[in-house]
C-alpha cells in the first residue's frame, strides 16, 4: 500500500485532532509502520536501535515535523501537533521513541535561548540521527540542584568543563548533552547551560543499571572537556533561569505524553485480564486519575501552544502524574494477578511497572513539588 498523504503541513488540518486522524490513517495503512505496532522490546538498547527506524519514518514522511517552526526544519503549527502525534502513537500501541521525550523537554528551550542551535540541530535530532541527554544532577546535587559543582572555565574560543554528572537518561546512547555547570560564584547566579559533545577525549560515560534491569541512565565524568563558545545556551549566568523555563515543558507537556501511556497500558490490561469485581475499584481509581491527568495536561499543552508563560502551577501536573502513574501500574499488577510476576510474555510490562517507581523521584521529587505547590501556588508561608 502507498502512503495516502504527501508531505503534511499544519494548514492542511483544522485541528490537531484532524491531524491525529490523518496520522492514524497513515500508520495503519503504510507497510513501513508495521514493525512498530505492538512492538515489545527485549532491552533498552534493542528498543533504542529499532525505534530509530520509526523516528526516521515519521520524519521523512513529515509527520513528526509538525508542531516545530520552519526555521528549525519543522513544518509549522503549534505544540499541540506534537502532543497529538504522541497520542496517536499510543492509540496505535506504538512505543514513543525515547529521544522524542528528551526533545520535548530540551528543544523548546533552545528555540527561545539558542535558536542558532535548534535551527542547525533539530532536524537531525528529530530524525533520530542524533540523540541528546540532559546532565544536571550530580552525586552531591540532587534535589538541591543549585549546589552543583561541575566547573566551567574560559579557555580561548570556548570553555573547559571538569566534574561529574549522574542519572543522565540515555547518556551512554547520546551524542550530546545539555549540561548545567558552574561558570561563576556560588548559588543560582553562577550557573550556565551548555550543549556539550559527549564523544570527546575529556569525557567518559558509564551506564548505570536501573531497577528494571535496563541501562536507563549514565554517569558522566568530565575532565577538561571542551565546549565551544557558540554552544552556550542563553548567556553566562543565565543557566538557572533557563532551567526554570524548562520546567514548564518537563512537568507540563511530559504529563500529556504519559497519560497516553497510562490509557494504553490500562487498555492492555483489560484485554489480557479476566473480569473480577474484586479489582473494579482499583482499576476505576486508576482510570479516574489518568483521566484527570489527561484533562489537566491538555489544558497545559493548550496554554503552551498559546505561548502563555506557565508558572509554579505546572508542579500540579507533575504531582497528578505521580498519583496517576503509581495508581495505574498498581492496578494493572493487581488485576493481572500472579502471572504478572511470572509470565514470560509479560516481561515488557513488568519492566514498565518497575520503571514507574521512579515517578516520585525524577524531575524534582514528590516532596519538592508539594513544597512548591504549597508555597508558590497556595501561598503557604516559607520558613
Amino acid at each position: 500500500m502507498t502512503s495516502p498523504v504527501a508531505t503534511p503541513t499544519a494548514d492542511m488540518f483544522d485541528s490537531p485532532s484532524a491531524y491525529a486522524a490523518a496520522l492514524q490513517q497513515f500508520l495503519s495503512t503504510d507497510e513501513r509502520a508495521k514493525p512498530y505496532i505492538g512492538y515489545r522490546p527485549h532491552s533498552l538498547e534493542d528498543s533504542a536501535s529499532h525505534l530509530t527506524g520509526l523516528q526516521a519514518l515519521l520524519f521523512d514522511s513529515g509527520w513528526s515535523r509538525l508542531g516545530w517552526p520552519h526555521s528549525a526544519g519543522g513544518l509549522g503549527g503549534d505544540p499541540r501537533f506534537r502532543a497529538a502525534m504522541f497520542q496517536t502513537l499510543w492509540n496505535m500501541d506504538m512505543p514513543i521513541p525515547e529521544p522524542f521525550t528528551t526533545l520535548e523537554i530540551l528543544v523548546p528551550v533552545l528555540l527561545v535561548f539558542a535558536p542558532h542551535l535548534s535551527d542547525a540541530l533539530l532536524p537531525g535530532l528529530l530524525r533520530g540521527d542524533d540523540t541528546w541527554a540532559q546532565a544536571f544532577s550530580e552525586p552531591d546535587a540532587g534535589s538541591d540542584l543549585a549546589s552543583l559543582r561541575t566547573k566551567m572555565e574560559p579557555d580561548g574560543e570556548g570553555f573547559r568543563l571538569t566534574g561529574q554528572k549522574v542519572w543522565s537518561t540515555f547518556g551512554h546512547l547520546s551524542k550530546r548533552s545539555v549540561l548545567l555547570a558552574r561558570s561563576g560564584g556560588p548559588g543560582h547566579k553562577g550557573l550556565t547551560m551548555v550543549l556539550v559533545d559527549l564523544d570527546q577525549p575529556g569525557i567518559e560515560v558509564r551506564p548505570i543499571r536501573a531497577e528494571d534491569g535496563e541501562n536507563h541512565f549514565s554517569e558522566i565524568f568530565l575532565d577538561n572537556a571542551w565546549v565551544p563558545a557558540d554552544r552556550v545556551i542563553g548567556t553566562l549566568g543565565q543557566g538557572w533561569a533557563i532551567a526554570m523555563y524548562m520546567l514548564q515543558w518537563e512537568r507540563g507537556a511530559w504529563g500529556w505524553l504519559q497519560q497516553g501511556r497510562f490509557h494504553q497500558r490500562l487498555q492492555q490490561a483489560v484485554e489480557l485480564g479476566t473480569p473480577n469485581p474484586d479489582f473494579a475499584q482499583q482499576l476505576g481509581h486508576a482510570y479516574a486519575l489518568s483521566a484527570a491527568l489527561r484533562l489537566t495536561t491538555k489544558q497545559t499543552v493548550e496554554r503552551l501552544a498559546r505561548e502563555e508563560q506557565l508558572g509554579p502551577e505546572v508542579s500540579v501536573d507533575k504531582l497528578l502524574l505521580i498519583d496517576a502513574e503509581l495508581a495505574t501500574w498498581d492496578a494493572i499488577r493487581a488485576y493481572l494477578g500472579p502471572r504478572f510476576e511470572a509470565d514470560d510474555s509479560l516481561q515488557w510490562l513488568r519492566h514498565e511497572y518497575l520503571f514507574s517507581r521512579a515517578a516520585p523521584i525524577y524531575g524534582g521529587s514528590q516532596e519538592i513539588q508539594r513544597t512548591l505547590v504549597a508555597q508558590r501556588v497556595l501561598g503557604m508561608p516559607r520558613d
Binding site: Q281, L283, G284, K298, A374, P381
Partner: protein
C-alpha cells in the same frame, strides 16, 4: 460570557445564595433574570451557580428544579418541569406491585405539595404520581442545614402514570448525567474553599514562634489535596461542555474523592478549633458527606467505572486536543 459579566453574575449569585430569605431559590433567581442567563449560556451559568453554592455551603434547593428540568427536557414533556424527582432512598427502593400499584420510597429536597413526583422503579420503568398521594417526612441527616425529605406511600394503579422502556431509561440517565455534573461542580466549590481557607489559616496561626504553615507536614497535606481538586475541576469543566454520561460519571467520582480528601487534610491544619461549631469547617465536611451520596458515592462510582472497563475491554479517552 465575558469576564465582566461573569464577575457581576458571581457577585449577585453569591448574594442570593447567602442572604437570609425563605423564598425558594428558584423564585429569587427568577427575579435576577436567571432564566435568560441560563438560556444564553447554560454551561457557564450553571457551573458558576453550583460552584458558588459549594463555596458558600448554601442550603438553597438549586438541584431539585434542575433535575426536573433535565428530565422534562429529555422526555419532551414541559409539564414535568414542576415535578419533584425522587432520588434513591437509603431505606428501600420504589417498586411496582403485581396489581400495578406503586410502592414509593424516595428522597427529595423540597416537599412536593401537589406537584407530580417521578421515581425510578427499575431500569425501564418510571412512576409518576401526585405529591398529595404520598407521605412526606423530614429526614435527620449528617447535614442538618440541607433539608431532605423521605416520600413514602402505596399509590393505587389508577393514580400511577408509568413511563416505560427506552424512553424511561434514556430520560432518567440524562437526568442523572446532568445531576452528577452539577453535584461535581458543588463538590469542587467546597473543596476549593476548604483548601484556600486552610492554607490561609496556616499562615495566621503561630506555634513554636512561627506560622504553622511553614511546617512541611502541613504544606504537603494541603498541596497533595489541591492536586486532586485541580484534576476534579478540569474533569468537571469538561463534563459541562461535553454533556456526556461517561465524563459526568468520572467527574463526580473524582470530585467526591477530592472534596472528602480536602476536608480530611484541611481539618488537621485547624487543630481543635476546626473540630468545633465555632468554626465554619464542619458545615463543609457535613455537606461533602451528604452530596457525595447523591447519584452515586465516589467509591461505588469507582467500582462502576472499573467494572465497565473490565467487561467492555475498552478504555475510553475523555477529551481530544
Amino acid at each position: 460570557m465575558d469576564n465582566d459579566t461573569l464577575d457581576m453574575l458571581r457577585t449577585s449569585l453569591r448574594h442570593v445564595l447567602t442572604e437570609a430569605n425563605t423564598v425558594p431559590l428558584a423564585e429569587r433567581l427568577a427575579e435576577l433574570g436567571w432564566d435568560d442567563v441560563v438560556a444564553d449560556d447554560p454551561v457557564t451559568a450553571l457551573h458558576t451557580l453550583f460552584t458558588l453554592k459549594g463555596d458558600t455551603v448554601s442550603s438553597a434547593d438549586a438541584i431539585g428544579p434542575r433535575l426536573a428540568a433535565a428530565l422534562a427536557d429529555a422526555l419532551g414533556d414541559p409539564q414535568l418541569t414542576t415535578a419533584t424527582i425522587g432520588l434513591d432512598s437509603p431505606f428501600g427502593p420504589s417498586a411496582l406491585a403485581a396489581d400495578g400499584s406503586l410502592i414509593v420510597d424516595a428522597v427529595v429536597f423540597t416537599p412536593p405539595a401537589t406537584n407530580p413526583v417521578v421515581v425510578l422503579v427499575d431500569a425501564v420503568h418510571l412512576g409518576v404520581v401526585s405529591g398529595n398521594t404520598l407521605t412526606c417526612t423530614a429526614l435527620t441527616t449528617t447535614d442538618g442545614n440541607l433539608a431532605q425529605y423521605r416520600l413514602t406511600g402505596n399509590v393505587p394503579a389508577a393514580q400511577v402514570q408509568c413511563i416505560e422502556g427506552a424512553t424511561a431509561s434514556i430520560a432518567w440517565n440524562a437526568m442523572v448525567t446532568h445531576g452528577r455534573w452539577l453535584i461535581a461542580c458543588e463538590l469542587v466549590g467546597i473543596a476549593q474553599h476548604v483548601i484556600a481557607s486552610a492554607a490561609q489559616y496556616t499562615g495566621e496561626r503561630i506555634q513554636y514562634g512561627k506560622p504553622i504553615g511553614t511546617f512541611q507536614a502541613l504544606q504537603h497535606r494541603i498541596a497533595s489535596a489541591h492536586v486532586l481538586v485541580v484534576g476534579a475541576a478540569r474533569l468537571t469543566e469538561f463534563a459541562g461542555t461535553s454533556g456526556d454520561a461517561w465524563s459526568a460519571l468520572v467527574a463526580k467520582t473524582v470530585a467526591g474523592q477530592a472534596a472528602e480528601n480536602a476536608c480530611t487534610q484541611a481539618q488537621q491544619c485547624y487543630g481543635a478549633i476546626g473540630f468545633t461549631w465555632e468554626h465554619e469547617f464542619h458545615h463543609y465536611l457535613r455537606r461533602t458527606y451528604v452530596l457525595d451520596r447523591l447519584l452515586g458515592d465516589w467509591r461505588s462510582l469507582e467500582r462502576q467505572i472499573g467494572n465497565e472497563l473490565m467487561t467492555s475491554r475498552q478504555v475510553p479517552k475523555i477529551g481530544m486536543l
